[in-house]
Symmetry: C2
Subunit: 443 residues, 2 copies
C-alpha cells in the first residue's frame, strides 16, 4: 500500500466532547484510517487551563494554551472548535475561516447567532464550516438533509432536539412527578446546562431549529423572530390529561414550509402530539427528527442527542468529510459557483408569523369553583371563535378547580386574545396556560 | 454564475423506479442543480419495449432499446441500472464497470449474488458502484453507515427490511386476520413481488442483510450460509400470544458482530421483539433499521422501504454523490490505495453458525387434547435442557389444542433437536413451530 497522506487536526477546547474525539479516534484508529484512506494526527490540543487533569492521555508537547498554534499554523488541515460559547469561539472561527481553513464545530449557539457571517466568510475564502454535531448529537440529521435527501424539498421537519427537557417530560409522565421535582434529579445527573435557560426555555433546541431551517431552506431566521417556549409551564395535569386523550407532551421544534404561500414557520414549543406518531415514542434523553420530503415521504431518525460519545461520533464524521475534501472532494453546497445558491433557494420565502399559525389547542384554566364558571369560560372562548373538542375538570384541595379543554381548529391570535380575556375574569386565577396540539398531517 | 458542467445520465430500465427518477429530477430540477453545482441531463433511456405507454413524457430521441447507447457511450457519466434481476443487469453492470463507469443501482439481488465480483471490477478499473436504493428504499442507511457513522464499529444492526411482509404482519395483528387472508389483500394492492418467495420467504430482506453485512464488516456472506426464514409459518395465535406477553412479531434482519470471538451472525427470520423497542413500532409498509455503534450508541432510522418516490429519492442521492465524484471527490471507500481495506477489516472474521446462536424462544405445538400431554412435552423439552418461561394453552374447535410456550435462554441446536423429538411424539400433530425472541441487549 502506498504512503497515505497525514491529516493534521487541531482541537480548540478539550472538554467532554474534545476528549471524546481524541479517545474515539484512538480507539478506532485502524478501521477509521482504512476507511478514509488517510492518517489522522491530532497535532495540537489547545486548552484554557494546562494544569487540569483530564481523562485521556495526550503527549505534553501537543498541549498548549495558545490558539494560534492551531489557527495560524499552516500545517493544521482541520480546526475543531469544541470550546462552545459565542465569545472566543467566534473570534477563532472567524479567523480560521478567513484563512481558508476547514472548521468542524459542535457549537449550535455560534452558528445560530453568527452562521450567516461565518458561512459567508467560508464561501469567500474557500474555507469550510462543518457542523453535524451541532444538531441532535449522534443523529446524522445534517448529512441526511444535505446529501441523502438532496432530491427533496422539505415540507416539514419536526422533532425533539433537546435531551434534557425530554428527560424531564418523560419522568413527569412516567412517575407523575412535578416539573420541579424532576428538574432537581436532572440537575443532580448533570443533564442541565450551566445556563439553565438553554434547556428549560427551549433556547438550545431553538438554536438547532434555526440551523435546520437554514440547511433545508437557505433562510437565516433570528431567534427573536420565532416562537420559542420552554417546558417550565407544563404541569403534571397537562401530561395526565394529554395521556388520557391519546397524546404525549413533547418539546417540539417545527420547521414547516408552505410552498404555495412561500411561508416558512420556524418554532419551538411544548406540544401535544398523538401517541401514534413515532416521535411521540422518543423518550428520556433521546432526540428524534422527522423529515418529510416531497419525494421520499417521511423519514424519522432517532438517537442520542448529546453526550461525549454520540457527539464525538458526529464530529469524527465531519472530520471524515473534511478528509475527503482535502483529497479533492468539492465542499458540499459551497462550490465557488454556488455562492448564491442559498439566497436563490430562499428568495421570496417569508417567515410565517403568529397570524399564519392555526391548529388545535389545549388550554388549562385555573378557576374558582363557582356555579356557572364553565359557562362563563365557554362564552369567552366562543367570543373568540374557539370551540371545545373535549373538557376535563379537576377539583383541587384548596377548593379551586382546573378546567382543561382541547379546542377545534383555532388561530394562534384568537387563542392569545382569549387567554388575555380569560386572565381578566375574576373567576380565573392566574394566567391560563395553552399548549399547541401538533398534527404533522395538518401543518 | 459561471457555466456549470452538464452531467449525462443513462437509464437502463424505465419501470416504476426509472420513471420516478425522471419525474422527480424534473420536478425538483432547479433546487437540485443549485445544490449540486451541475446540470443533470438524462440523455438516454433504454427500455425493452419501445411501444409501451409510460406515465412520464420523454423526448422520443432519448428512447432506445439498445443498452450500448448507455454503456458504450463515452458521453454518459452515470449509468443507472434500474432493470432488476440478475441476468442482463449483471452483464450490463459488469461491462459498465469494466469501462470504469459510475453505476447507480437499486438491484439488491444483483449485489447480494455478484457484489464481490462487481466491486472488485470497480476497484480495478476506477469505476464505482453506488447502491443506496438497494436497501430500505428511502432510508439513507448506506450513507449513514458508510459516512455518518464512520467513527464506529458496529456491534449490532437489525431491523425491518421488507415492507410487504411487515404490511402482512401488521394487518394480521390489527385485524386478527390469518396469513392467507392478508396475503390476498397484499396481492390485490400490488405489494407482493411477482416472485412471491422474495417477500414471503424472506429472500428480499436477506439480500439486504447481506449487503449491510458487507458494508459494515467488509465480509461477503452467501445467502445459503445464513438462516433465512420468511413469515409463512407465523399464525394469528402466535401474534396474539406475543402481544399478551408484551411482544410484536416482526420479520427481522440481524447483523451482529462479536468483536471478542470475531464472529459475525447474519440472519433473517420472524422474531418476537419487545414492544418497548422502537423497531417494534414500525408498522405497515414502513422499514426501520437500528444501528448500534461503539461510539454513537444506538441510532434508529425509519421510513418508506419501497415505492416509486422513496426509492427514486435514494437513486437521486446516489446520482448526487456521483456528481460530486465527477467533480473531484474521491470514491467513498474505494480509493486506489484501499483495495485491500475490506479484506483487512474482515480478516479473521468468521461467520457464526447455529451453534453460536442462543436466546429465548417461542414454541407453538399442536397437540391432541389428552391427559398428561403438557407433562410429556415438558419432559421432552427438559431432556433438551429447555425450560419454560410462560405457557399458554388454547382449545381448538376440533378438540385438539395449541400449546404455546416461551423458553428461558436456550441454544438454537437444542431447540431444533427438541422440535424434531416433539414431531415424533404421537400426541403432537404436525411440526412444532418456533420463533426466536430477539433482545437487542442480549445479542
Amino acid at each position: 500500500m502506498s504512503e497515505k497522506r497525514t491529516i493534521r487536526i487541531g482541537l480548540l477546547g478539550f472538554g467532554v466532547v474534545g476528549q471524546g474525539v481524541w479517545k474515539n479516534i484512538e480507539n478506532n484508529r485502524q478501521a477509521l484510517e482504512l476507511r478514509l484512506g488517510a492518517q489522522l494526527d491530532i497535532t495540537e490540543v489547545v486548552v484554557k487551563n494546562l494544569s487540569r487533569e483530564r481523562d485521556v492521555e495526550v503527549p505534553a508537547e501537543r498541549y498548549s494554551d495558545d490558539p494560534a498554534r492551531v489557527i495560524e499554523n499552516p500545517d493544521i488541515d482541520i480546526v475543531c472548535e469544541l470550546m462552545g460559547g459565542t465569545g472566543e469561539a467566534l473570534e477563532h472561527t472567524r479567523r480560521a475561516l478567513e484563512l481558508g481553513k476547514i472548521v468542524v464545530t459542535a457549537n449550535k449557539a455560534l452558528i445560530c447567532e453568527h452562521g450567516e457571517e461565518l458561512f459567508a466568510i467560508a464561501r469567500r475564502t474557500g474555507g469550510h464550516y462543518f457542523y453535524e454535531a451541532s444538531v441532535a448529537g449522534g443523529i446524522p440529521i445534517i448529512k441526511t438533509i444535505r446529501e441523502a435527501l438532496v432530491a427533496n424539498r422539505f415540507k416539514l421537519i419536526f422533532g425533539i432536539l433537546n435531551g434534557t427537557s425530554n428527560y424531564i417530560l418523560t419522568r413527569m409522565e412516567r412517575e407523575g412527578l412535578s416539573f420541579d421535582e424532576t428538574l432537581g434529579d436532572a440537575r443532580k445527573l448533570g443533564y442541565v446546562e450551566a445556563d439553565e435557560a438553554l434547556d428549560l426555555d427551549g433556547i438550545d433546541a431553538a438554536h438547532k431549529a434555526v440551523i435546520l431551517a437554514y440547511l433545508a431552506h437557505g433562510k437565516w431566521v433570528k431567534l427573536n423572530e420565532i416562537i420559542c417556549e420552554g417546558i417550565r409551564d407544563v404541569s403534571g395535569e397537562d401530561i395526565t390529561i394529554a395521556g388520557q386523550l391519546g397524546y404525549k407532551v413533547k418539546l417540539l421544534a417545527v420547521i414547516a414550509r408552505d410552498f404555495e404561500a412561500e411561508k416558512l414557520s420556524v418554532r419551538l414549543h411544548p406540544a401535544l402530539i398523538s401517541k401514534k406518531e413515532v416521535i411521540a415514542g422518543v423518550d428520556e434523553v433521546y432526540n428524534g427528527v422527522s423529515v418529510t420530503g416531497d419525494v421520499v415521504g417521511t423519514t424519522v431518525l432517532i438517537g442520542r442527542g448529546a453526550g461525549q460519545d454520540a457527539t464525538s461520533s458526529s464530529v469524527i464524521s465531519d472530520i471524515a468529510d473534511a478528509v475527503f475534501m482535502l483529497q479533492g472532494a468539492p465542499a458540499p453546497f459551497i462550490s465557488e459557483e454556488d455562492e448564491a445558491v442559498y439566497n436563490r433557494l430562499a428568495a421570496g420565502l417569508e417567515l410565517a408569523d403568529a397570524s399564519d399559525l392555526q391548529g388545535r389547542y389545549y388550554l388549562r384554566i385555573h378557576v374558582k369553583d363557582q356555579e356557572g364558571v364553565l359557562a362563563k369560560i365557554s362564552n369567552i372562548l366562543a367570543e373568540h371563535h374557539i370551540s371545545f373538542a373535549t373538557v376535563n375538570q379537576k377539583e383541587l384541595d384548596d377548593g379551586s378547580a382546573l378546567i382543561m379543554v382541547t379546542t377545534h381548529k383555532s388561530n394562534e391570535l384568537s387563542i392569545a386574545a382569549a387567554k388575555a380575556a380569560l386572565a381578566k375574569e375574576p373567576v380565573v386565577l392566574g394566567k391560563p396556560v395553552s399548549l399547541r396540539i401538533f398534527d404533522p398531517e395538518a401543518v
